[in-house]
Amino acid sequence: METGFPFVILIGPVIAAIATLFTRRWRRVTIVVGLAFVGLLALLLALAAPGTGLFPDNIAAVLGREIVMTAFVRSLLLLVYAALGVWFLVVWVRPAGRVLAPTALAVLAPLAAALMASPAGLGSVFLVTAAAVVVPALHGGKFDAVVPAWRYFLLIGLASAPILLTTSGALATPAVIWLFPLLATLLLLGSFPFHIWVNGLNRYLSPVVAALVLGVVQFAVVAFLLGLLDSVPAARATVEFQTAARWSAALTALVGAFQMARATEQRGLVAGAVLLDMGFLPLVTLSPGTDGLLIALPALIGRFLSLLLIALGTGGAGVEPNPTRAGRMATRLRPALLVYGCLSLLGLPLTPGFAARWAQLSAAGQGGSVWPPLLLVIALAIGTAAVASKIVGGRAARLAVEPAGSGIAGFETGMMIFLAVLAGLLGLFPDLLTGMVARMLGLG
């Protein structure tokens, strides 16, 4: 039965984005409005449980094509909304531009459309739309960010071609059946040799924006990609695809590790750590069906949390210390959160990033060659040494971001403690994250 409910999930975020555009002069009002809209959308989605909820059988039709909200898409969108809610709270204490809140809300619409569109090929155009929506946030008014932001968009735009060819099955002769799925994977995930935008962008990107684009947005992008690869199991199973994905992962992680080793400032170090973490993502494409999702989603949640910790852990440079008790506590917590966030990006034990890292390393080790897993371990070692010497040892110039402003030191400290405790729990009990994802998505 057509209920038209998917249209609410597509149009709702656009209305929210327009509303926050009108209030963008008042940053905190914008955040409250954004939080309210995200809460409302999450509530509507919670009421739309398939079969039993307020809006059963969530199907809509447009131009002769169906938009279907499956139980998985609904759960994934709930996860995205929850992540966005936490992200808004961090933006409260770490402002990063006026267009950020409208962008974060607007991008929800094309992402939801990409996940719900049928056939999947249509989703590639919605991914291009999502990339276009985040471009102003990536640019952030910085001249040097223009080229990396353009490269990011360019590669997502180019990815639409292999995605469409994969879904159509065209040119899929046995000799090159793996080619288009592989190209789509590497282009969408920003893996070697299509990683050219990652480092450049992360050097100019606030960790808050990175948490949005490389965290929240990636939930939908990776879910879309895994769905695409599930539609071509023969291509994914080929030796060529598996070998190329493993080598691309290893080389991306190595490039990230060397960038961390060469970094002279914390910004470059964080950029390298993000690239290193992105290097592990192609490995999730090696596992079919729910197995891939059970590695990918904890990995992305770990990355999202890590970037939020880094966002809260920065801001000390050039900012007058807040004289209140909460302010002093925030000042003391910052360096610890920064180090913990970076180590979590590397996926070391006792950090939330570890939940998926072991599974990713295992996936890398299942190929015929010993080199990709070995190179990945070497990359992790180089990255850990870089964090130890450059942040803990104080050899890298500190990150300077816009100060949080006076009067919210208590809230800032509260957020820091909340995220640190959450990350610590997930680090201590990695199965918690995997189990939670499995239950939430109905996969376990």
Partner: protein, 233 residues
């Protein structure tokens, strides 16, 4: 007098359909990639969209092909306004040498009556090589034999030429405008190819929308690259 329909227009311009369209289309795409003056580039993009429309008639319903051409005109209009706002690709007037260097504006060097840049020469070389390869393809068709029917044999070099010239354009420049023109040419060629796989209204509209989105992003970033406030203040 009644206004001519799409089919009347196609009848009147029948002499352009087929191989002549392909030759002119590839020539326009070549100019769009190698020209250094944005006025020439925009004119070439405009001609390319008009001629691509003729080829889309062989692939899609003529009304959908017309929608594609119309969208191309909008894309051209967006690029035209952008190119005008960025002073047709010339460096901003009154810019000091150190500011120009900071903005990464390539120095030109004289080559006979022209002044050229290093990336410009690179583009010219690659585009010429691609043009030669496409000419060779016309002698030995069958590259897309599994998808493109043999009968309109002229479509194969058009698709291959647009894809390859588009890739040359987007690989040889990091700047949003020239690289964006390359992406638009690539998407044109891909749309032509994909038309044989899926002729549905939804997919045609989606691909047209993708081109418009690309044009808007190019416009936004090209203006951000020109006279950036954070560098010059």
């Amino acid at each position: 007098m009644d206004a001519p329909t799409i089919f009347d227009l196609l009848d009147r311009l029948a002499f352009l359909r087929g191989a002549p369209s392909v030759v002119l289309l590839l020539a326009a795409a070549f100019v769009a990639v190698v020209a250094w003056d944005l006025r020439l580039v925009i004119a070439a993009v405009f001609v390319h969209y008009l001629l691509a429309g003729f080829l889309f008639v062989d692939v899609l319903d003529p009304r959908l092909a017309f929608v594609y051409t119309l969208a191309g005109l909008f894309v051209t209009a967006i690029l035209l306004v952008t190119a005008w706002q960025v002073n047709w690709g010339r460096r901003p007037s009154g810019l000091a040498a150190d500011e120009a260097s900071r903005l990464g504006l390539a120095d030109t060097r004289p080559l006979g009556p022209f002044s050229v840049t290093q990336p410009g020469l690179l583009r010219l070389g690659f585009a010429t090589a691609v043009f030669g390869a496409v000419l060779w393809l016309t002698r030995a068709p069958g590259l897309f034999a599994s998808t493109v029917p043999i009968e309109p044999a002229y479509l194969e070099p058009a698709i291959a030429g647009l894809l390859a010239l588009g890739l040359v354009g987007l690989v040889t420049s990091a700047e949003p405008l020239p690289s964006g023109v390359g992406l638009l040419l690539f998407l044109s060629g891909f749309g032509l190819f994909y038309g044989f796989l899926d002729q549905s209204l939804a997919m045609t509209v989606a691909l047209v929308a993708a081109q418009l989105i690309v044009a808007l992003v190019v416009a936004y970033l090209a203006q951000a690259r020109y006279l950036p406030v954070d560098v010059l203040d």
